[in-house]
């Protein structure tokens, strides 16, 4: 008890601001997610097995249809990438809503750190589980279905993946503010954004198969172009299924990244302002 009082009464030796505070916030918010995952190992079962079930089902549908082997690879890659979309939907977009329900959101708003840093910390903390899910599905494809990958350009592949992730998580931050405004409908909205996005973004088939304007519209979701480019870069016959060239997809993903992150920053600042001024955002209504 004495130690606690000492700690409380002791003056600040250093008060972090600016980029130091931003960085520390990211680490602080990522920490419980990473540690929490290690303490509750059962998540492995659900987080790894569930996305595999859909992949297995779709692979067998292609097998029943005697589809060319590339399609098995397309499904496996799509299945691996669903992990990132689910992470965006449930662990970022609707996260602020859950934080509100649990009473943490008011604390986040009151704290002197950036909401963007908090969301970034959540994203990075959840990235471990997400990357493991994606890896597990990829390995399933290799060992169970004999999918082979032939990377044409590692530099382009790295660039596409990183840009797709930056744009995707920027979008997640944008959606987090929007979902907060939906109130209790947020859960349903996240639920609703699953299958239609799986369809429109071509998670289980090449996006080129959809009508041009549908595919173009779906390209607003960064994973659409990201997956299309990656399929072109890791499968030998991928180019013939490409929606547009990899170079164009890289340029568009770069534009989406900047647009989403700037918009997310503006929206989060707006939400923070509403929360402080009206006290409405942080109240929990079941």
């Amino acid at each position: 008890m004495g130690n606690l009082n000492d700690a409380l009464l002791r003056p600040y030796t250093r008060k972090d601001t600016g980029w130091r505070l931003f960085l520390k916030t990211i680490i602080a918010r990522a920490y419980p997610r990473i540690i929490g995952q290690q303490r509750e190992v059962s998540w492995l079962v659900f987080d790894l097995i569930m996305p595999m079930l859909a992949v297995i089902a779709y692979v067998f549908v292609y097998r029943a249809l005697d589809a060319p082997e590339e399609y098995i690879g397309f499904v496996v890659m799509g299945g691996a990438m669903t992990a990132f979309w689910m992470n965006i939907l449930w662990s970022m977009s609707s996260q602020l809503y859950w934080e509100k329900e649990q009473g943490n959101l008011a604390l986040y708003i009151m704290a002197p750190n950036s909401m963007m840093a908090i969301l970034l910390g959540m994203a990075l903390g959840g990235m471990l589980a997400t990357a493991l899910r994606a890896l597990a599905v990829t390995l399933l494809g290799i060992f169970m279905f004999g999918v082979t990958y032939t990377v044409i350009s590692y530099v382009q592949l790295f660039l596409v993946f990183m840009l797709a992730m930056i744009a995707l998580y920027g979008m997640g931050m944008m959606m987090a503010s929007a979902f907060l405004l939906f109130g209790r409908e947020a859960w349903h909205m996240a639920n609703l954004a699953q299958e239609p996005i799986f369809l429109a973004s071509g998670f289980y088939f090449p996006i080129k198969s959809l009508p041009f304007w549908v595919a173009a519209g779906a390209s607003i979701i960064p994973l659409t172009l990201g997956m299309d480019a990656m399929r072109q870069l890791v499968f030998p016959s991928g180019f013939q299924f490409g929606f547009m060239t990899v170079q164009w997809e890289i340029i568009i993903l770069a534009i989406l990244s900047v647009t989403f992150i700037v918009t997310a920053k503006i929206l989060l600042a707006h939400i923070e302002k509403i929360a402080v001024r009206e006290g409405r955002i942080t109240e929990s209504r079941r």
Binding site: E40, S42, W43, V45, F46, I49, M50, L53, A54, I56, A57, Y58, F60, V61, Y62, R63, A64, L65, D66, A67, Y71, Q102, R184, E185, H188, N191, L192, Q194, E195, P196, F198, L199, F203, Y204, F205, P206, S209, L210, R286
Partner: protein, 284 residues
């Protein structure tokens, strides 16, 4: 008195479930939500099928896949609808403890809560099949449908799914975390082993017996047969069995799984009461 309590529990739970399911938004958004989700799931399969077969919707495999997927909506809806009521009441609304001390039958209450999902599931199934008939030439001729077989199979299957939901609800009562995923995981696994969107013959040989043991395999087969007749029988998996034989297997397996479900629920329910798990919230 016992029957009356059971019926009252079931009826009020069904009404409560419907209010919870439908009152979160305006009717238009609710309708969109109820329609878009299942249609998108079906559309993924339709696009996959269309790419590989160059749009040959006349093949027997198409109605097999399409109808199997459409009726599989019931599996997720009814089974998880019953088990999700535990998570909803305990974690979200924190009312499960009050339900337990109220003069109601808890199993009947949970089964009643699944009714709302059954209704929304039925709407989704109807819309999916109608879209298939109107736009994708699913060969469904209403005059040739074996309605008696269809309704007997449908009712038997829905009761079987509700009882499986009760089994999952029992497990949900005793599980600390991830209880919300139990229903989804089970529905996902059954999707593979029930021949819902591909014949069981496509599965590796060593895993097929699991599919033959699942009542949903026979349920989906009979629903297809009752609606489109010989098209479903074209696949060798269950072609050697007559409709009556499959109905017999389905009834037997439903009785078996129903009995197991009730037993598991009772065991889990007793354990949950003894360990004080009824009012536990994890905020997870």
């Amino acid at each position: 008195m016992q029957t009356s309590t059971s019926w009252r529990s079931f009826r009020m739970a069904a009404w409560l479930g419907w209010l919870i399911e439908s009152n979160w938004t305006d009717p238009f958004l609710f309708a969109v939500y109820s329609i878009v989700k299942p249609l998108s799931g079906a559309a993924i399969l339709v696009v996959m099928y269309s790419i590989i077969t160059q749009g040959n919707f006349g093949s027997a495999l198409f109605p097999y896949i399409y109808l199997g997927n459409a009726f599989y909506i019931y599996v997720g809806a009814v089974m998880t609808g019953v088990s999700w009521a535990v998570v909803d009441d305990r974690e979200h609304y924190k009312t499960l403890k009050y339900m337990y001390i109220a003069p109601i039958q808890i199993p009947m209450y949970l089964l009643g809560r699944g009714i709302a999902r059954f209704i929304t599931g039925s709407i989704a199934v109807f819309i999916t099949i109608t879209a298939g008939v109107l736009f994708l030439k699913v060969p469904l001729n209403l005059a040739e449908v074996d309605w008696l077989l269809f309704f007997v199979t449908l009712i038997l299957g829905v009761v079987m799914l509700a009882l499986l939901g009760l089994l999952l609800a029992g497990i949900t009562l005793t599980v600390a975390r991830h209880e919300g995923f139990i229903g989804e995981a089970t529905a996902g696994a059954l999707y593979i082993f029930s021949g819902a969107v591909f014949p069981l013959d496509v599965l590796p040989e060593w895993i097929r017996p699991l599919g033959y043991f699942m009542p949903t395999t026979y349920w989906l087969e009979l629903l297809r047969r009752s609606l489109v007749g010989n098209v479903a029988e074209a696949f060798p998996t269950l072609a050697a069995f007559s409709n009556m034989e499959i109905l017999g297997v389905l009834t037997g397996l439903s009785l078996f799984f129903g009995a197991v479900s009730i037993w598991v629920f009772r065991v889990c329910d007793r354990r949950a009461r003894e360990l004080g798990l009824i009012d536990r919230t994890t905020n997870y």
